[in-house]
């Protein structure tokens, strides 16, 4: 494979093979204040990361950027030429800088800094998160005369050191959850150690560390060594590097008092440790080793189109709030433009022994970086963390095959890496040594990559990560295109396998110019409005995605778009409303905020910090307090009615236990219980509305990774329904005591190997719900409607807890919620992420209580029209990203009774009191 594509990038091929360079003037101590001039060039590296180079135009950019060593009082002049495609600056927090402007692509800017204070400073590119891709480096300002540091000797004495005493220095940048290193020899030569290096020294070497951080914070710990808290005599061995930019320099005597060994250094945040943020500081005994460091993974190394195949490489995936680009390769634009289009900016290709690096550089939320599937038998799998966090991750992959990563909190965020065996033709999708099979996080092992399930998962990946594959009903046609690269799989699902196991390219599955029509609107009107979180729709006035689309159910038109550009509204995900239906509460799922919106005008009332990554909001029918599931953390936030700040967070687990990370909760009709699907602990939690854990019920039947994601409840709270996303199942739980009553397998009728459908569960209906998400119960308690992201709507009869019907849905089917149908009964409004229409389901068209005749009553385009009121202009992805959906008036039992008369008057007697009928 590699031979065919290696000839791509001419400017990379021209680069030098080995790069050692010296910068800095280790100026003599008697010199007067010096002026140091540096020519910097900001460049794009082969893997798409950015970096600074010094020297001529051919100089190689390095990460971290060149370290600048100066003396107090010196002047630093930097001439920055920007060879990247983004604006790049040179910002140094803590030092006075003559120029805050950024160089636009192709242009040059000059910066003059006065190093008037000793210390270690971060310089960075100041470009809105892109600096975390490599535009960072260190400036070390030392005292002009005398010792520059002290170390703690093995006998406890504190010994001052001069520059001349120091044997070697390391610059270690903590970025995301990855160490990026540079080694500086005693004579000032700088050698890039790249990502996740292992450091080395000889016992009793004096080694100075410059640990710097940019982005979310860390603590740095080095085993068995201790050093001084800056400018004190206090001995420490762990140091906080706070959020933003922070630095800490210290000197140690290698192995002093402890001897030689492979001493680990690492970030001491648990989630970052789990994400791979560690390395070894190898101290060789004198005479038995040279104390050489081991270079880590290089952006120039052994990846698709890499410059130096002999070196371990690194591909990077930026974690982003941007639709479809949630795990975006920084060279994604270049990759999808290649002749052999791999279609997705979220797919990288590299070779065994290289690493994949993740950095949460374009998101306001917390995430995990978690394996979804990997080649059977692969090392270091599954990759996962025990809690959601800010940072990143790095993992070395040695086994060929396909690795798909997701965020457990936002489980449609997908990023994939193919580790390709360079000796074989075609991209390896599974482990060649294991017949190209894959393992899934849900406990499925040895799944052939030729199976229908594997192909469906691939298809889901290429739909979710490629907006051009989404179903845009406003265009009238649909094209679904897959990569044109040949692949190696276990068998022949979509074409001939040639000798040696080469399959047809995935593009054999392409759909070309299929007609696409919205379909007719429902004949019978609904009551009131339907608010849809069109979470991916982009508007001109903000850079974060998402709007809310308001549908008028009396005429099925888009009445309003609420973008909230004034707060850069970020991925609005779910909603609820207050008793009089005047305020819409809306969570920003990739952020920390809950917005209060005037329902009649669409105007923002208040934007409130509620915690990391809030998902759903529901009021307590008893008192109108807000309950907000803090999906990125470990509780449910409470905002008392009439107030605009969180008063408390109810914990979803006992102290010290794994965070539950609740997602789509529900509240009992009497307002006494909060029920959460706990995605991180795979259980349903029942909590008192004023606190207290009543019950926690595992939903996975002892298999891992069930991922319960949303709750529905019977109107009398007698039963709880929870959709398990990754187990494709629906748990039925006793609402009183949490006892598990039943687990309904939603894929019983599906053969995952050959893709055939049959009534395997004998319930009289052939019905499948792949990757179920929302599962509300109708206000009258008749039906559970399940939106399954695989593209199905499944209806369960609550009398029998059996599936009675499957209806079609668009790709990425996600949200479901009920509203009143005019004249009696209910519509279920179903949203989809990768289509831009609303599906309206009538669960009981003839209103006879038998829901087996449930059908799709009609569809509504979510694309705005000239008559749509709006606070911003839709710029792309019109009407896409349908997730949370809320009908106004809220007609669920418990809430409907609280409606003002003006809303009640539009409802039938049965709708006004759904339990009494």
């Amino acid at each position: 494979m590699k031979e065919q594509i290696i000839k791509f990038n001419k400017h990379i091929a021209a680069m030098a093979v080995v790069m050692l360079f010296a910068v800095g003037f280790l100026s003599s101590s008697m010199a007067m204040a010096a002026v140091h001039s540096f020519n910097f060039t900001a460049k794009t590296l082969p893997n798409g990361q950015l970096g600074y180079a010094t020297g001529g135009s051919d100089a190689e950019a390095v990460i971290p950027g060149p370290a600048l060593f100066v003396k107090q009082g010196d002047t630093i002049q930097v001439t920055l030429t920007n060879s990247t495609a983004v604006d790049v600056g040179f910002n140094v927090p803590g030092l006075v800088n003559s120029n805050s402007a950024k160089a636009t692509p192709g242009q040059t800017q000059n910066y003059t800094l006065h190093a008037n204070k000793t210390g270690t400073y971060v310089y960075h590119g100041d470009n809105n998160g892109k600096e975390l891709l490599g535009l960072f480096g260190a400036i070390i300002v030392d005292k002009k005369n005398g010792p520059i540091d002290s170390f703690v000797n093995g006998d406890g004495s504190i010994v001052p050191v001069t520059q001349a005493d120091i044997d070697k220095q390391f610059v270690l940048f903590m970025v995301g959850s990855t160490f990026w290193g540079t080694e500086i020899s005693a004579d000032g030569v700088q050698k890039p150690l790249w990502a996740a290096p292992n450091l080395g020294a000889v016992e009793n070497d004096l080694v100075r560390f410059h640990v710097l951080a940019i982005g979310p914070g860390h603590t740095f710990h080095l085993h068995a060594h201790r050093w001084l808290k800056t400018d004190t005599a206090t001995v420490i061995d762990t140091k906080l590097l706070n959020d933003g930019t922070d630095t800490h320099s210290f000197t140690i005597k290698a192995g002093s008092g402890v001897g030689p060994g492979d001493w680990q250094f690492h970030c001491h945040l648990i989630a970052h440790m789990e994400a791979g943020m560690h390395g070894s500081f190898r101290v060789d005994a004198a005479g038995s080793g040279d104390g050489a460091s081991v270079v880590g993974a290089s952006p120039y190394g052994n990846i698709l189109l890499g410059a130096r195949p002999s070196e371990p490489g690194v591909v990077t995936l930026e974690v982003s709030d941007e639709p479809a680009s949630w795990f975006r390769s920084p060279r994604g634009d270049a990759i999808v433009g290649l002749p052999f289009d791999i279609k997705s900016k979220s797919l990288e290709v590299m070779y065994p022994g290289s690493s994949v690096n993740f950095v949460m550089s374009d998101t306001n939320g917390v995430h995990t970086i978690s394996s979804l599937l990997w080649p059977t038998g692969a090392h270091h799998m599954p990759f996962d963390q025990s809690a959601a966090y800010r940072g990143g991750g790095i993992v070395k992959l040695t086994t060929p095959g396909l690795y798909v990563f997701t965020c457990k909190v936002h489980p449609y965020m997908f990023g994939a890496v193919i580790v390709d065996d360079p000796e074989t033709e075609g991209l390896d999708l599974g482990n060649p040594a294991m017949d190209y099979k894959i393992d899934l996080v849900t406990g499925i092992t040895g799944l052939p990559t030729s199976s229908d399930l594997a192909v469906r998962l691939l298809r889901t990946f290429f739909v979710a990560t490629s907006p051009s594959n989404w179903q845009d009903y406003s265009t009238g046609i649909w094209n679904l295109k897959f990569p044109t690269l040949p692949v190696r799989i276990s068998g022949a699902p979509f074409g001939n396998i040639q000798d040696g196991g080469l399959a047809l390219a995935l593009s054999a599955l392409n759909v070309v110019d299929a007609p696409l029509a919205v379909g007719a609107a429902p004949e019978k009107p609904g009551v009131g409005e339907v608010w849809v979180n069109t979470q991916f729709e982009k508007t001109a006035g903000k850079y974060k995605p998402g709007t809310t689309t308001v549908v008028d159910t009396t005429n099925w038109t888009v009445k309003r778009k609420v973008a909230l550009p004034e707060i850069n509204n970020n991925n609005p995900h779910n909603m609820w409303t207050n008793r009089d239906q005047s305020v819409i509460y809306q969570t920003q799922w990739f952020d920390t905020k809950l917005s209060m919106i005037n329902r009649e005008t669409g105007a923002l009332i208040k934007n409130i910090t509620v915690g990391n990554t809030p998902s759903h909001v529901v009021t307590l029918p008893s008192n109108d307090d807000l309950t907000i599931a803090i999906n990125g953390e470990n509780g449910v936030a409470i905002i008392p009615a009439g107030t605009t700040s969180v008063s408390k967070m109810l914990p979803t687990q006992a102290h010290g236990h794994t965070s539950a990370n609740p997602h789509g909760h529900w509240v009992s009709a009497d307002g006494t219980k909060i029920v959460t699907p706990n995605i991180n602990t795979n259980d349903i939690g029942i909590y008192g509305a004023t606190g207290g854990i009543h019950a926690r019920t595992p939903t996975g039947n002892n298999a891992p990774g069930a991922h319960p994601i949303a709750i529905g409840m019977m109107p009398d709270s007698s039963k709880i329904y929870a959709a398990n996303l990754l187990h494709h199942s629906l748990s039925v739980v006793d609402g009183a005591n949490g006892a598990l009553l039943k687990t309904i397998n939603l894929i019983a009728d599906y053969n995952p190997i050959d893709g055939s459908f049959a009534d395997n569960d004998g319930n009289g209906a052939i019905a499948v719900g792949v990757l179920p998400i929302q599962s509300p119960v109708s206000p009258d308690g008749k039906a559970v409607v399940i939106a399954a992201t695989g593209g199905q709507i499944v209806i369960v009869d609550t009398k029998t807890d059996k599936i009675v019907k499957m209806l079609p849905c668009d790709p990425g089917c996600h949200g479901a919620n009920f509203g009143a149908k005019e004249g009696g009964g209910y519509y279920a409004y179903v949203t989809t992420k990768f289509g831009n229409r609303l599906t309206v389901v009538d669960i009981d068209p003839d209103n006879n209580g038998d829901i087996s005749d449930a059908h799709i009553a009609g569809y509504v385009s979510l694309v705005d029209t000239p008559s749509t009121a709006k606070d911003d202009t839709v710029s792309s992805l019109p009407g896409f990203g349908g997730q949370g959906v809320l009908a106004v008036p809220n007609v669920y039992n418990g809430w409907v009774q609280n409606l003002p008369d003006v809303w009640k008057s539009g409802l039938t007697a049965a709708q006004r009191n759904p339990v009494g009928h």
Partner: protein, 338 residues
């Protein structure tokens, strides 16, 4: 109100002796009687006003503890035996597994032999490849075989008790050299359970307090009525109170209510663990930032950092983590002065 510890400490020059470690009372001479021959040797070598090396022989174990009634368990260390030069001091510890684990008081110059056992129910499911527990200590000196890590990290051995990925031991002995220059409060924690990151965040953590051997001491050396070790976790403080006279360790658990006699000096030992960064306050009190003359009333602290300070107890108040979510979760406790 603000509180300043005595002025002499403010005047102390910045030197090897950090403020956090300079105000330790001499260890009781009586308690040392059992080790008289060592004492005699020590005196002959280093003089009567200096501390002397003691040998600590410690045996600890790790257990799973059931505490939430929903099938979720935490893990905890338990002290089985602690002898100082043969003198048994085990009764200062809880006789049950606790979170935090035992707080081990040492003095610069001491040697420690710590034997770790593993009493975690073998049937307890392990998420990773390792059923081995370890003790990885911060601050003091030890050779690579006492690092308390897995072989994948240290390239030598799976250094713990129980079944590791590559090596299995019924018990594991760690040797610590509480060398000069290691005075201070340091965490210890597991590094081996489940995987090479260990399970410190599931309860396997404790602390050592290393008193300085440095001389000369201030004439009126500091005496604390109480010491508190407070671990800042991701949703709560895990604390323990130590009576300085009896050395008894009590009140283990979440957000403990701490007690102090009025107008006495008490010492707080903060250590963080988990994933969150914290901002600690003890409302209405100020203290010296260790190693400086700066009075502060809050401190940012991240996982496995330590922060030790002394105050004089004047008024009851609360200690609080001001991290946004932790504060809302009620991560605070009472400090009662009476």
């Amino acid at each position: 109100m603000s509180f300043q510890i005595n002025q002499s400490s403010c005047d102390m020059p910045l030197s090897q002796s950090a403020i956090e470690t300079t105000k330790i009372p001499y260890r009781s001479f009586c308690a040392r009687a059992a080790a008289g021959f060592v004492l005699a040797m020590s005196i002959s070598f280093i003089g009567a006003d200096k501390s002397y090396a003691a040998e600590h022989v410690i045996e600890m174990t790790a257990k799973d503890i059931s505490d939430d009634g929903f099938g979720n368990k935490l893990l905890a260390y338990q002290m089985l035996s602690h002898k100082i030069d043969g003198l048994d001091v085990t009764d200062r510890y809880s006789n049950a597994p606790t979170i935090p684990g035992p707080i081990i008081e040492l003095t610069e110059g001491d040697k420690v032999k710590l034997t770790l056992l593993n009493a975690i129910d073998p049937a307890y499911p392990v998420a990773g490849a390792s059923k081995q527990v370890s003790v990885h200590v911060h601050g003091v000196h030890y050779k690579i075989l006492s690092d308390g890590t897995l072989r994948v990290i240290n390239r030598k051995l799976d250094e713990g008790a129980g079944e590791g990925p590559e090596d299995t031991f019924a018990s594991y002995e760690y040797e610590w050299d509480v060398a000069p220059g290691t005075a201070g409060t340091w965490p210890y924690h597991d590094h081996n359970y489940e995987n090479h990151n260990g399970s410190e965040h599931k309860g396997l953590f404790g602390a050592i307090i290393v008193n300085p051997a440095a001389t000369p001491r201030p004439q009126n050396s500091y005496k604390f009525s109480k010491e508190y070790v407070l671990y800042l976790g991701d949703d709560a403080f895990w604390g323990v109170e130590i009576d300085s006279t009896t050395k008894k360790q009590t009140k283990h658990g979440v957000n403990p209510t701490l007690n102090a006699p009025k107008n006495t000096d008490v010492r707080f030992h903060l250590i963080a663990l988990g994933t969150d960064l914290h901002n600690f306050t003890l409302n209405n009190y100020k203290w010296f930032d260790p190693g400086t003359h700066n009075l502060i009333n809050q401190v940012a602290i991240g996982p496995l950092e330590k922060h030790v300070f002394v105050i004089r107890s004047k008024n009851s108040t609360q200690y609080v983590d001001n991290n946004f979510s932790n504060k809302l979760l009620g991560m605070k406790g009472r400090f009662i002065v009476d």
